[in-house]
Symmetry: C2
Subunit: 119 residues, 2 copies
Amino acid sequence: MVDHQEATLDTVFQALADSTRRAMLRTLAEDGEKSVSALASPYSMTLAGASKHVKVLEAAGLVRRRVEGRIHYCRLEAARMAEAEAWLRYYERFWTRRLDTLEALLKAEDEQAGEGKRL
Amino acid sequence: MVDHQEATLDTVFQALADSTRRAMLRTLAEDGEKSVSALASPYSMTLAGASKHVKVLEAAGLVRRRVEGRIHYCRLEAARMAEAEAWLRYYERFWTRRLDTLEALLKAEDEQAGEGKRL
DNA sequence: CTGATGATCAACCATATGGTTTATAATATC
DNA sequence: GATATTATAAACCATATGGTTGATCATCAG
């Protein structure tokens, strides 16, 4: 059980340790479903290269694929990030002494990302 | 600036993508300062191997080193995790949506069934 | 000074990673 | 059927990674 979780954290953190893949996840978060070539288009990289990145994300459980004809539609599967975030959250108490700095960071991130999410 | 942040996320996530290094960080969080060999002792690995892991953590800014005589004392530098956690936190809404929905459901049910109910 | 200890460095090895090119499979379109 | 489009697969390449062994350095204890 614990081993499985450790392996999951390995693959998730590994998948996140590449800026192209992180940008792909961000695109999926913003735009919803996208084909592989649509995901690939922003990058100066062959389609085959981008396809491999998508495969890494899929293997990490961060992306789900739905094949329709010759098009592979990808969508974000964010749940897998929960474990990673929980892992990091444990360490929050070690940096929250500088609470102001953190709060500023999160607030900036929040305003940049979540528009009109308030109820 | 953004590039620098991306590079930081690269190295931090990369450093976290190894269970030995994550365990070392946990040890430092629990026990405070530890020497390199003390950090290495739980693992069936040469001291040189463990030393390389410590170096990776140090390069990622997750560990600080204080040399005293021949002993290198390491301590956790958790602040660097804040960016990584902030990055992940953006995606929280994609996995908590189900919880939000559930919560709304329960709240409606609660209001319909029992008045003045405490949360 | 001698020897043991804590740690790094350098060289090496096997495998993984990020990328390419070329080929192939599957599906649209003409 | 012929051809173009979407995507993967396979082979390859350079570099990175996780680990080892052996040498070296610095320091502490006799």
